[in-house]
Amino acid sequence: MNISLRLENIEKNYRAVKALDGVTLNFEGGKTIALLGINGAGKTTLLRIIAGLETQDKGNVFFNNNKIDGARLRQISTLVFQRTAMFNRSVYDNLAFGLKIRGKQVTEIKEEINQALHAVGLRDFEKRKAKKISGGEQQRVSLARAFLLNPKILLLDEPTANLDPNSATIIEKAIMDKAKDDRIIILATHNLGQAKRLANELVHIYEGKIIENASPQEFFNNPRSEITRKLINGELEF
């Protein structure tokens, strides 16, 4: 059975700033959704709410038609941050962290980490200090760490920002491989080409509101909103 995620009238305020305003979205398993929007549009806030790291001020989140809270959302989702976050330990320890919490055995963990590192092109990186490797390598480790947990909802905040083309290609390939499973992948990106390559559905957020939600073809060829048209033509400032 396909999984589903529904956001109903989500509102989130940060003091006087309305970060999200009546956001309603429906996602199904097996789909990759790209969230597009300028800086400050609300993409990261939306990802953080779905990740269970923030609580909305109004509205509800439903998973498989059941209302779900932050604690439960954290169990079924994983967020890869835009700015890489590494524990001050080895790459192995960073990757093993989530697996140990889930009670996996050492032999299982070793095997899975080997495979995950191979998938992101970082074989033999286990013993390296995570904070000493390059930014691109850290981003690949972050992705591998998220993949290892096999979350039902995989959230990616600008996964290839500031990466060289080679690293970006490796990461996009890894995301495409994961998209074959029955999970929901939500990817916030500024890269329209990436959104077109990876996503089945594109969502445009502007000033906390959803102003476009369409397939890549409709989004790029026939956008409903003038703001989306400007975004596609590069007339909106990021």
Binding site: R48, A51, G52, L53, R74, Q75, S77, T78, L79, F81, R83, A85, F87, N88, F97, G98, I101, R102, R128, K129, K132, R145, L149
Partner: protein
């Protein structure tokens, strides 16, 4: 002046390497007193610092301010207060801590508390917020997340404890007033320096000062070296680092 300094270094080497039992006793007593004092201070300071550093609550800034304010408390003032409390007529006279090494240790533990609480809570509070989010998004509970933050800031905490130890090791007021500077009983390095200076034995006083500073320096360097070694990637780099420290 230069002659006195040279004589002081010569005296210091003489005192250390002659195996003088009085000197060794003074050094051991100093380490014991401040070691116990630091340990006691950590017992309550680290939990307090953890609550202040990792949790939000009403009045947090007042409590933080309170501990910060007492970092620089004059040791003689604290020593006098403790003297009054620990004397026979004092509220805690029954503990018989006055003029004992344990009395000095207790006094120093009170002195060091604001230092450990302030520095440790600042280190915990300054820990990257994203690390907390990272732990949570990987499935950690609130308790585990806090433990992760503590682990990530362990070296900052070690530096805070080292700074506290050094403060205690070099303080005079509590050791003199609460300990009484009793020969072979409560005499420590700082009270020995004060005594020898009063007696006009400047070379001996300076020798004790050199020993005191050497110990403080050695402990601080050891902590810093340990932290640097931990940061290094491969074992061969650790050997190179050790080499560079030895060879200068």
């Amino acid at each position: 002046m230069a002659d006195i300094i040279i004589q002081a270094f010569q005296k210091a080497f003489e005192l250390i390497f002659s195996g003088n039992s009085e000197v060794l006793g003074t050094v051991t007593r100093s380490l014991y007193v401040t070691g116990v004092g630091t340990f006691l201070a950590c017992l309550w300071s680290i939990p307090i610092a953890t609550v202040i550093g990792l949790y939000s609550f009403r009045g947090k800034w007042i409590i933080k301010g309170f501990f910060s304010a007492f970092i620089g408390v004059p040791t003689v003032a604290l020593g006098l207060l403790l003297y009054l409390l620990l004397s026979r007529q004092g509220e805690f006279g029954f503990l018989h801590l006055l003029y004992t090494v344990n009395g000095i240790a207790v006094g120093q533990s009170i002195l060091l508390t604001p230092i450990i609480v302030s520095f440790t809570s600042n280190a915990l509070g300054a820990a990257d917020v994203q690390l907390r989010d990272l732990a949570k998004t990987l499935g950690a509970s609130s308790l585990r997340t806090n433990l992760v933050i503590m682990r990530e800031t362990v070296w900052s905490m070690a530096l805070a404890i080292t700074a506290a130890f050094n403060r205690g090791f070099g303080e005079l007021g509590i050791a003199m007033i609460v300990g009484g500077n009793l020969y072979l009983e409560t005499r420590v390095l700082t009270t020995s320096i004060a005594l020898e200076t009063n007696l006009g034995s400047f070379d001996v006083a300076m020798a004790y000062a050199i020993i005191l500073m050497a110990i403080v320096l050695a402990i601080t360097l050891a902590i810093n070296l340990a932290e640097r070694l931990r940061q290094e990637d491969a074992s061969w780099k650790k050997h190179r680092l050790l080499r560079s420290y030895i060879d200068g």
